[in-house]
Symmetry: C2
DNA sequence: CCTTGCATGACACTCAGTGTCAACTGCGGC
DNA sequence: GCCGCAGTTGACACTGAGTGTCATGCAAGG
């Protein structure tokens, strides 16, 4: 691998790579928003960023990946946020606060773009499938993060449920937020969703 | 499982169609179990059932569909079961009992085949994605069914959470059941999962 | 007997995704 | 400077999923 010059920052090559990836992602989202997902070919996405089709696939594993990768960034930050919460906090609170933090940071601060992205994802079956898959995998990661907080090697079933519930609340909240065009306080919506979720089984 | 109640009002053509579909499904599952999902082409699936590639796609929308269609049958029955529960029952109980009923009926009675199917689905990314998508859509259906039970036109957010929680418990339970090769009482596993789920947010 | 409707197979086509190879790019060592 | 090295890229070819179209065959019903 890279054992040569590893300066505190990133290699030139690495930064270049990130630049291409960003450009590819931006161009793709712009084009997809205008043309629709299914109506746009990978050739067009590649051309929009000025690279070859083959290069596109060197940066994104699939056409869906361009859209979904934005989602998985949020997932990674959710786990990071969760690990940064004080260890004394009960799991349910930790998840809620972590979800709130990433929501405000990622969605509320990019209202228009996020709303378009969420809508697109929910409407296109292929994207919805990939999104659901990511969330599924994320549940395992979140459960694992919760287990680490409790000094456990393996997450208990209950932690799996806590993770699932948290993501469910996240999901419902985000969907609701997108439905009102993002014209609502994201933090409040998250809090309400978690409050509702807590009551759902007391029915 | 595939002995379906056939109302006497079915055309010959319709029964023939069902026959072809069953044959296609059975042959596909056999072949996929032996060769693996990604290693098997649609041509092979079609040939195994003695039809053309084109005909395969007239019965299943995609390669994933052959596997997932078995799952969606379970989903439909879950909704039906839910609607058959007494209206006085609280939502949480109704879901639990409906889930228990379909689990026992569909999985426990076809242990070996079901375990193989679940394992396959969880291991293959493409299948996992489609499965997650189906479950997502099913959540809406279950929420709608719950709403109908309460004489509501639209499901409340809380009913959405109840549906999500129920399916989450279903999911965790089935996964666990498959992990122990189906050597466990499905009804008990479901009950335990729901009990755990109820406590998850009391942490 | 004929016709109408349906299922099928054959064929062609688009497009996603992958493997391979040759050309080009800095970038450090000699 | 020159060389080699590692990484990026584009060109090309190939597999395989999924779709549109059309001609054929076949059963039912007049």
């Amino acid at each position: 691998m890279r054992r040569r010059t590893e300066p505190p920052g990133l290699t030139l090559a690495e930064r270049k790579r990130q630049l291409v990836r960003d450009e590819l992602g931006d161009a793709a989202l712009r084009l997809l928003a205008r043309q629709g997902f299914e109506e746009t070919t990978v050739d067009q996405l590649a051309a929009a960023a000025g690279v070859s089709r083959r290069t596109f696939f060197r940066y994104f594993a699939s056409k869906e990946d361009v859209v979904i990768s934005f989602v998985s960034v949020v997932g990674e930050e959710l786990v990071a946020e969760l690990e940064a919460r004080p260890a004394a906090e009960p799991p349910a609170v930790a998840i809620r606060e972590a979800v709130k933090a990433v929501t405000v940071e990622h969605f509320a601060e990019n209202r228009e773009k996020s709303v378009a992205l969420i809508r697109h994802t929910l409407r296109i079956p292929a994207l919805r499938a990939r999104f659901a898959e990511r969330r599924d995998l994320l549940r395992d990661d979140v459960a694992a993060a919760l287990a680490r907080r409790c000094d456990l090697a393996e997450p208990t079933p209950r932690l799996h449920f806590a993770a699932g519930l948290g993501l469910l609340a996240f999901d419902v909240a985000i969907q609701h937020w997108a439905e009102v065009d993002g014209h609502a306080d994201a933090a409040v919506i998250i809090d309400e969703a978690f409050a509702e979720a807590g009551k759902a089984f007391a029915l």
